[in-house]
């Protein structure tokens, strides 16, 4: 129990939230040691930002731009099968027959209204899709140099792991931030478990801007994902739960930060997200007076 969180084995049970998440409304997160960067506050990070100038892509079931919560898209494409049976990108394809991608896009729009939203459909069988289509669509999104890519999906197929890891590294170096939701089940899948992406699971609080840093890997952050009112297909709205909806919350916050700090690299962005996280910022704001004089670090509260 006393082991440092990042040395611990991940838990197998997640009461009250989708797997990998934390029920922060009833169970406060544990404390851990933080080396402060006092300059970086939430205000510094995104105060006054609206996501303007940042290009965000939702890799999902497509996005319905007719939905009032979403609005106009910058680009809308889909992975399709051509007449030779090969996968190809149809850059004219619009719409979302399912609603899942529209839900993600709606969340991003609500937090970062100024960001330019795009969509590529890779899930072609309802909320399911093939690994090939995912690779094809994600490659396209990376080649398009989006700043932020939202992936509210994953695969358990081991054969896909190396290819996805390669793509995630590729994106990281090209400064395309992949914000990926953790699986809703206590199972390992990809690409959210890679270190080169920002992985997000759910907390169960209602504030869209509240997010937490998780010191126990493999999930980096907890964002709002429980009982979220979201846009859905055919102009509908519904309340839904899932790590799917935590990822776009964080993706939108990334868009806010990047719109204010244009040249942050993915690793800087992660550091900023860390310092501005609700559980970290609380310490850095409340604790300066209690700091030991000869020590920069905040004490480990046990």
């Amino acid at each position: 129990v006393d082991t440092l969180p990042w040395l611990r084995r991940p838990p197998s049970r997640f009461p009250g939230v989708p797997a990998w998440g934390a029920a922060t409304s009833s169970l406060p997160l544990e404390d851990f040691a933080i080396s402060p960067l006092p300059e970086i506050t939430q205000e510094w990070a995104w105060g006054g930002a609206d996501g303007g100038g940042v290009r965000v892509c939702v890799v999902d079931t497509g996005v319905d731009e007719e939905h009032p919560r979403v609005g106009q898209l910058d680009q809308s494409a889909a992975v399709v099968v051509d007449e030779h049976g090969a996968l190809t990108i149809d850059e004219q394809m619009r719409g979302d027959p399912v609603g899942h991608g529209t839900a993600c896009a709606g969340i991003i729009r609500s937090i970062a209204p100024g960001a330019a939203l795009s969509s590529i459909r890779v899930l072609t069988r309802g909320k399911y899709g093939t690994g090939e289509a995912l690779l094809k669509g994600l490659s396209w999104a990376i080649e398009q140099d989006f700043d932020v890519v939202n992936l509210s999906l994953s695969t358990r197929l081991p054969a896909l792991e190396p290819k996805l890891r390669e793509l995630a590294d590729h994106a990281f170096f090209r400064r395309t931030v992949l914000v990926v939701s953790a699986h809703n089940m206590p199972v390992r899948s990809y690409p959210w478990s890679f270190s080169s992406v920002l992985s997000v699971a759910s907390h169960d609080e209602a504030d869209p801007m509240t997010y937490y840093y998780n010191a126990a890997p493999p999930v980096d952050f907890y964002a709002r994902g429980v009982r979220v009112k979201v846009a859905w297909a055919h102009g509908a709205e519904r309340v839904n739960t899932g790590n799917s909806f935590a990822a776009p919350h964080l993706a939108a916050i990334c868009a806010l930060i990047l719109s204010k700090h244009r040249w942050l690299t993915p690793f800087q962005l992660k550091a900023v997200l860390f310092m501005a996280a609700s559980n970290v910022a609380a310490h850095t704001i409340e604790s300066p007076g209690k700091e030991p004089a000869d020590h920069d670090d905040l004490p480990l509260d046990v």
């Binding site: 007449e83 899930l123 899709g129 093939t130 995912l134 999906l153 089940m185 799917s244």
Partner: protein, 1028 residues
């Protein structure tokens, strides 16, 4: 031009058919034709039509018509075949490929290319032939095929749902978004043909989830069995659908290629009384091991015997002699299993044991005990009800463990449901309402979850049935009507059913239009049934699936199909072809008749048909019960007789006869209350009471509740009431024989049994005959029958019972005793050793006392008194454990007698016993032996008066039995005692009496000694007289 093949057929109007329709159409034909010369267009179209017609013909389809540039073909006319859908899909694929080749030519010659779309759909149509033999098919299926075709991508084949289901296991398909077809309400689901290559294994829908610990436990048990060579038995317990069989299968699969030989058998819910079916299945599940065992039988007589016994099981139903007995079957199975285990590790899987007959459970436990030092694992699968039937199952057995499968946890259930629902490698991470609903409603039961998902489809909002049966019923409601019909017929045929049985039911209903092959293909694909399309044997995937389908079937239909299948079974039994009259049909005849009877009574309570059906069912059940009796499977027999009684129409004269048989069975089992109760159920009638009254006495007598005086009184009361030809005589004589036996009059008992036997023969009652003969064999030893005659009878009986080692144990030990009387000691010992080996093989613990007693007797005759004392004392300790005080007293006396004969003093307590104590012993044998021992002690003490009075007492007691050998030994002992008391004259009288008894019996082994004693005494007396 089309349908020429049908020209010879007579006009056959408007038949309803299930067919597969292929629709092909060219893209942009109208625009292409505009720029072409009509003659050139005609030439191109001819080549295209010829190509398609040839491909269609090649795959056995009929081209129905050409409409402009469209081609329509039908597969499944005039005769449906099970692979119509597959052939149509192959034809569609070939048309596209061959058109590519044609296009190369067309492009070269005319600079044009044809682009085609194809669709394949299936369903019912109305087909009609005109007088010329041409045919037309009409129906919604045709329209849908045409619409699907227009939605197909260029150079692609789209198939509709029924075709996709039929070919999914053979070709690779990919779902396309549902199509909104013109003129159709709901969007139609469709699949694109990806490749004609078969897809990978699709048998398991979901990975095994949440059973890691159990799998590990199974693996450990197996590894220990293997490494330590210690057998083990693991029982998986859990409610239906919890995943017992899935776990068992996963465990088997985890053992890999170098895994054990696996043999499996399954109990069924409706085959009550068919105790050994799972064993037959087990034997058939690995033909290779059976062949190896058969070859072993060539050199090994024991293996040959076991093989014959087991082979007899699977030939059950043909009446080639009596069947092997329970003990023999258990032994044979052990021999078989042990021989397989000699060659490598072995896994026996017993499924659905909660439906097993008690005797099968006995066999499995017996195997567990006997194979505890072989690398054999028995994996039993059962619902928890098994523990109600057998509370002590696995209890106290070394290497036996029960493993209860708990419901999956919430998390495990969610993962499982997610996996079951997954339709691609990549999945979105929102809460799926269907998953959530199913996971929360399925109570951690995987099958429950799977059924719920099947029913829910993509919409989770509809309310879910709350019991697994209701769920399954809802699942059945979704079936195509014809598939449902087939499934219902299969359910009536049984959990394991034969395709010809279903065919037969279809024929009986005049529904041979149904394409059974494709229907079964679909049912297999939906995992409702399992089986191989090449095999006629299929099974329901879940036992309760069969039961639910059965319950959901209209009773009228069940009745009709049961009758049809009963007729089929009867017909099959009547033919002499073993292939046709397989064990299954014979087994299931009573099942079908009985089920039909129950339904008929419910539907037509007062119909005479019910009465007739009842008599047929009774006859079939009785026959099966008699078979069970023959193999001494008494509990199964009791169950079958009970059902036979219930099946008989009220007032049928056979009722009391069956009641007595049932009572007999319970009596053999040792359940006195039920033996009486069986009679109580027999209705009163004029000719009833006598036989029933005798039976009641027989029951009490066997439980030691009657005195000989009471029986005599009963005999006197009853005898005048029995008519000359009354079957009751057989039992009356048996009753009398028992009275004689109680009075130690073996000769008289033998005579009564002979009379009973005569009656049984006259009635043709072979069961009673065997029963009487078995009892009578022992009387030759313990009665006045001379030794040569006894040996003759025993050897006849040994021939008669050659197939029954249970009976041979008694017959051989009797023979051993008689041979010892005759002085053939080596042969005597050999017979007793064989009998002991049989008893050990068959675990006949009850035979041990008798064997030890006889071995003691033989050694006593030989003169090995110490050894004799040991045998008697062993018999005594067994009886003591059993709490049989009278037996202990008798064997104490025998042991003491041998110790004295060996030259020892009379042991305690005999020297200290008072006359009153001696007189209190009621058993004549024990009393006589005890009194002799007391007399011997008195002689040693010089109390001649007491010796004399005791000797008188001994004579009186010994005279009460007609056991000549026993009388001889007692008189011999008296002589010895009187010699010790110095009364040589009286001793001579006794010695002469002994010699006389031995002579009468023909005990040649001891005659010289008896002669010797007489002449010694005569000599001594002469000397005494001469000297005096």
């Amino acid at each position: 031009m089309c349908g020429a093949a049908l020209a010879a057929r007579s006009a056959n109007e408007n038949v309803r058919r299930h067919v597969v329709v292929l629709f092909a159409d060219l893209e942009g034909f109208t625009s292409m034709s505009q720029g072409l010369d009509p003659e050139l267009l005609r030439a191109i179209m001819d080549r295209y039509f010829r190509l398609t017609a040839q491909v269609i013909w090649r795959y056995g389809g009929l081209t129905e018509k050409f409409i402009g540039d469209a081609v329509m073909a039908v597969f499944g006319m005039p005769v449906a075949r099970e692979n119509d859908a597959l052939r149509a899909v192959q034809a569609a694929s070939d048309i596209i490929d061959e058109l590519d080749l044609l296009n190369v030519e067309l492009d070269r010659e005319y600079g044009i290319k044809l682009a085609i779309r194809v669709a394949v759909h299936s369903g019912p149509v109305s087909a009609s032939y005109d007088a010329g033999g041409d045919f037309r098919v009409v129906g919604d299926t045709v329209n849908t095929a045409s619409r699907l075709q227009s939605a197909a991508p260029l150079r692609q084949v789209l198939v509709g749902e029924p075709v996709a289901q039929a070919v999914r296991s053979r070709v690779q398909l990919e779902a396309v978004p549902p199509l909104s077809l013109k003129g159709k309400g709901a969007p139609a689901r469709a699949w694109r043909l990806v490749s004609l290559d078969a897809p990978g294994d699709t048998t398991s829908r979901a990975p095994l989830i949440g059973r890691d610990v159990e799998l590990l436990q199974l693996r450990q048990a197996y590894d220990r069995a293997l490494q330590r060579g210690r057998g083990c038995m693991v029982t998986l317990l859990g409610p239906p659908g919890i995943g017992k069989s899935r776990l068992a299968a996963a465990f088997q699969a985890s053992l890999g290629e170098r895994g054990p030989v696996v043999l499996s058998g399954q109990a069924i819910s409706y085959g009550q009384g068919v105790t050994y079916r799972p064993i037959v299945e087990l034997l058939e599940s690995a033909p290779g091991t059976w062949a190896a065992f058969a070859s072993k039988g060539v050199t090994d007589p024991a293996a040959a015997r076991a093989q014959a016994c087991l082979a007899g099981l699977s030939r059950e139903g043909d009446t080639g002699g009596p069947e092997a007995e329970v003990e023999e079957i258990a032994w044979a199975l052990r021999a078989f299993v042990a021989s397989v285990a000699e060659r490598g590790p072995l896994l026996l899987v017993w499924e659905d044991l909660h439906w097993a007959e008690p005797t099968l459970l006995d066999v499995i436990e017996y195997l567990g005990d006997e194979l505890s030092d072989s690398p054999v694992m028995q994996l039993c699968v059962a619902r928890p009800e098994l523990l109600d039937l057998r509370p002590a199952w696995s209890g106290g057995r070394v290497g036996a463990v029960n493993l209860e499968l708990a419901p999956l946890t919430t998390d495990e259930t969610l993962v499982l449901v997610g996996e079951l629902r997954q339709r691609g490698d990549v999945v979105a991470h929102d809460d799926d309402e269907v998953c959530a609903l199913v996971a929360s409603a399925c109570e951690g039961n995987p099958l429950f979850a799977e059924l719920m998902l099947d029913i829910a489809g993509d919409r989770g909002s509809q309310p879910m049935p709350q019991t697994i049966q209701a769920l399954f019923a809802a699942r059945l409601d979704q079936l195509d009507v014809d598939d449902r019909l087939v499934l219902e017929m299969a359910a009536v045929a049984g959990r394991d059913f034969l395709v010809p049985d279903v065919e037969h039911a279809l024929l009986a209903d005049a529904r041979s239009d149904i394409d059974l092959g494709s229907s079964l293909d679909r049912l297999r694909r939906m995992r409702l049934v399992t089986g191989n399309r090449l095999s006629i044997r299929h099974s329901f995937a879940q036992a309760f699936g069969r039961d639910t389908a059965y319950e959901m079937t209209a009773k009228r239909n069940r009745l009709r199909w049961h009758l049809a299948l009963a007729d089929r079974a009867t017909a099959a039994e009547a033919t002499s072809h073993p292939q046709l009259a397989g064990p299954r049909n014979a087994d299931l005849l009573p099942y079908h008749l009985e089920a039909a009877l129950t339904l008929s009574r419910e539907l037509h309570p007062n119909s005479p048909a019910s009465g007739e059906l009842g008599r047929r069912a009774t006859a079939a059940l009785t026959e099966q019960a008699m078979c069970a009796m023959d193999r001494r499977d008494l509990r199964a027999a009791a169950g079958l007789f009970e059902r036979a009684v219930r099946a008989l129409p009220a007032g049928d004269p056979r009722q009391h006869e069956l009641a007595i048989r049932l009572s007999d069975t319970w009596l053999d089992i040792g359940d006195r209350d039920r033996a009486h109760a069986a009679l109580g159920n027999a209705p009163g009638g004029d000719r009833l009471p006598v036989e029933v009254e005798i039976q009641r006495e027989l029951i009490d007598l066997r439980h030691g509740l009657c005195t000989p005086e009471h029986i005599l009184e009963v005999e006197q009361r009853i005898e005048p009431r029995i008519a000359h030809d009354d079957p009751a005589w057989c039992r009356f004589h048996q009753l009398r024989a028992h009275r004689h036996l109680m009075n130690e009059r073996a000769g008289a008992a033998d005579a009564s049994l002979a009379a009973a036997l005569e009656r049984a023969q006259a009635m043709g009652d072979s069961y009673q005959q065997r029963r009487i003969l078995r009892t009578s064999s022992q009387l030759t030893l313990w009665g006045p029958t001379p030794v040569p005659e006894g040996l003759q009878r025993c050897s006849e009986l040994a021939c008669l019972f050659a197939d029954s080692r249970v009976s041979l144990v008694t017959i051989l030990s009797t023979t051993g005793g008689l041979l010892a009387f005759d002085g053939q000691f080596a042969e005597a010992r050999e017979r007793l050793a064989t009998a002991a080996a049989y008893a050990a093989d068959l675990r006949m613990r009850g035979a041990d006392v008798g064997l030890a007693h006889l071995q003691g007797m033989v050694e006593s005759i030989v003169g090995e008194h110490r050894a004799a004392a040991d045998h008697f004392s062993r018999a005594r300790s067994i009886l003591r454990t059993a709490g049989n005080a009278n037996g202990v007293a008798l064997l104490d006396a025998y042991t003491a007698r041998e110790l004295v004969a060996a030259g020892g003093p009379v042991p305690a307590p005999y020297p200290a016993m008072t006359d009153d104590e001696v007189a209190a012993i009621s058993d004549p044998r024990t009393g006589a032996l005890t009194a002799v021992l007391c007399a011997r002690a008195a002689a040693g003490a010089g109390d001649v008066d007491r010796v004399r009075s005791l000797v008188e007492w001994v004579r009186a007691l010994a005279g009460r039995t007609d056991d000549l050998y026993f009388q001889g030994t007692v008189h011999q002992d008296i002589a010895g005692t009187l010699v010790a008391a110095g009364r040589l004259d009286e001793a001579l009288v006794a010695a002469t009496a002994a010699r006389e008894r031995y002579r009468a019996k023909g005990v040649r082994a001891v005659l010289p000694r008896a002669d010797d004693l007489v002449s010694q005494l005569e000599r001594a007396l002469r000397q005494e007289t001469g000297g005096g």
